[in-house]
Structures are given as C-alpha cells and as structure tokens.
C-alpha cells in the first residue's frame, strides 16, 4: 500500500468512528421511540444536516472499503496492482452510487 492510500484509509477510518457511533445511537433512538418510517422521513427530508452527515458517511465508507478491497485483491488474487486498483475504483464508485441513492431517498424533499 502506498503512503497516500494508507493515509486515506486511516483518515476515513478515523472519520467513521464518530459517524458509526452516532448512526448506532440514532437507530437505538428511532427504535426505542417506536418511530415509523413517516416519522423518520418527516425529520430527514429537506434536512441539510442529515444530508451532510450521511453524505459524508457514504463518501468515507466508499473510499475506505475500496482501498481495503484493493489490498485484498493485490495480496490474495493473481490480479496485478493496476487491475486491482481499477476493480477497487469501480467497487468504490458502486458503493458511492448505492449510498448516494439511499441518502437522496431520505433527504430529498
């Protein structure tokens, strides 16, 4: 792994620590309060805060996972570094698109 990839993976991991904790707390809160989907959507739709929060989460997870997949491929598969990098980039983009769709679904008014 190169220095740059190492830093991106560590930085996104550090960023996701608080994001995951808040995410879990939100899940607990929503289930304990017995909130319905409509209740949740009424709070998230049009919210710049939730859009930023989960947008950042999706971006961080996509970068972090793609670098990890690249490492797995370079070490455990016969793919050369370049091809593994390309595959990991596509994987990261797929995660980003799927994640963005989910975020848009709950925050767009």
């Amino acid at each position: 792994m190169t220095m740059r990839l190492y830093l991106w993976q560590r930085a996104t991991a550090a960023l996701m620590v608080p994001l995951v904790l808040v995410h879990i707390a939100v899940i607990f809160y929503a289930t304990r309060q017995g909130m319905t989907a409509a209740d949740i959507l009424s709070r998230t739709r049009g919210s710049l805060v939730w859009a930023s929060y989960y947008g950042l989460f999706v971006a961080a997870a996509s970068i972090h996972a793609a670098i990890g997949v690249r490492n797995v491929l370079t070490e455990w598969s016969p793919l050369a570094d370049r091809r593994a990098g390309l595959f990991a980039l596509l994987f990261g983009l797929l995660l980003a698109v799927l994640g963005a769709r989910a975020v848009f679904a709950v925050v767009l008014p």
């Binding site: 792994m1 190169t2 220095m3 740059r4 990839l5 190492y6 830093l7 370079t74 070490e75 455990w76």
Partner: protein
C-alpha cells in the same frame, strides 16, 4: 521421556518431500542436535546451515512443527511433546536444498529499506555523545538485537502475500537507524520505507513479535515507521 524421536526432515529442493528418521532422544536435546545427528549418523548428504550453536549467529533457523524457530536454542522437549518432529526449511524463502534456504531476498530487502548506516561525521570530528536514557537511544535499544535469523520474515503473512514487502527485520533495521542520532540517511530512508513494499503494507498480525527468538517487537518498530513517515509526508519532506 521416549527413547526415540520420529523426525520428518524436508529433503530436496522446492519440489522435495518429507522423509522420516528415527533419532535417539537425549537429555536437553535441541532441534539442531537432532538435525546434526541425522547428518552425522544416518545421511551425510543432508544439507542445513548453522554456525555458533548458541543463539548468536542467526543462521540455523528452520520451520519446526509448523513454526519458524532458531533450532540451536529450541529444546525438543518444548516443541515435540508427542515425540514427533517435522523440520523443514524456512518459509517465504527459496529452498536451496533440504533445510537450507537462499537468504538473498531477505538481505536484498535490507538494502531496499536503506538498512545501511549513513555516517554524518568523519574520523576527524569529535565522537558523538549519545545519552543512554535519551528517547531515540531507548528506541534503538529496544530493536537493535536482531540476529538476522529470518524467523520473522518466515512467520510474516504479509511477506507471503506480497513479494515486494520488505519484511519485519529490514523495517526494524530501518527504524533503529532512524533513531540513531549519528545517522544522516533519515529522509532517504523514510522515503524508501514509505514506498511500495514499505511499512504501510504491514497488517500488524504480530507473528514477527510472537516468534522473534530475541523477543524483539518488529510490529512496534513498523508502527513507529508508519508514524514517522506520515509526519514527514504531511510536512512535505517525502513524497507519496
């Protein structure tokens, strides 16, 4: 104590096989004693490497019952409770013949990691005063007693998966030099260990520190390199 040991030894090159021998069990017997007995009394064509027999030279490391060990200081009683021993060449290195591996890739990576002292003074300068209790010198002390046996290199999963990876010993050597206040090769060394095959490839599995016969902790040294290279990169002293 059993009267006889059943000993399987690797014979041949990369495509060799294990052959089994019966060796008398002795008091305080080491694994190296067992190998030596086979060569002296059963099959003189057995190839293996050793020199000092007292844990100083680092030349007798082999795979013993699945784990890399220094055979001269490994007692049979410690590793062969069942009376069976399987001894092979070190993993992650090319096999020359029988129990002897080619250590060239191991030492080539020391060169790649810039594991060579770069003097900062000439013989005409005064001798540098190094305080034994200074933090850099303490860091050196914790990592300096490597005997180049290759046990950590053979134990390392990352070396197995990534042929470019320098390995724990070479990176530990780089770490001791980075903490050597007399050394002038710091930036070039940081650049070398931050590149492909360098410290950032380490997964911190810690097999190196578990099996190092000198009880060193290469994982800690590599973690130090990760911190030091990251700081140097963020300051613009090295390139990605």
């Amino acid at each position: 104590m059993l009267a006889e040991l059943s000993v399987s030894l690797w014979r041949g090159g990369e495509d060799g096989r294990y052959e089994t021998y019966s060796v008398p069990r002795r008091e305080s017997q080491t694994v190296l004693d067992v190998v030596t007995f086979v060569q002296r009394h059963i099959d003189p064509t057995l190839s293996y490497r050793f020199a000092c027999r007292v844990g100083v030279c680092g030349s007798c490391a082999m795979t013993v019952n699945g784990r890399p060990r220094w055979t001269c200081r490994t007692h049979v009683a410690k590793v062969a409770g069942s009376g069976r021993l399987e001894i092979g060449p070190l993993e992650n290195l090319p096999v020359i013949k029988d129990l002897a591996t080619d250590m060239e890739p191991f030492f080539e990576k020391w060169q790649k990691a810039q594991g060579v002292f770069a003097p900062s003074k000439t013989r005409h300068d005064e001798i540098e005063q190094i305080r034994p209790d200074s933090p850099p010198r303490r860091a050196v002390d914790a990592a300096i007693e490597c005997i180049n046996c290759g046990v950590c290199y053979a134990a390392c999963d990352t070396v197995r998966w990534n042929q470019d990876y320098f390995g724990p010993a070479a990176l530990t050597r780089a770490w001791t030099l980075l903490n050597d206040e007399r050394d002038a090769g710091g930036t070039a060394r940081l650049q070398a260990v931050a590149g492909a095959g360098g410290c950032h490839a380490c997964h911190s599995h810690q097999s190196c520190q578990e099996l190092c016969p000198q009880a060193l902790n290469p994982t800690a040294a590599i973690a130090g390199l990760k911190r030091r290279t990251t700081a140097a990169y963020l300051k613009g002293e090295i390139k990605a």
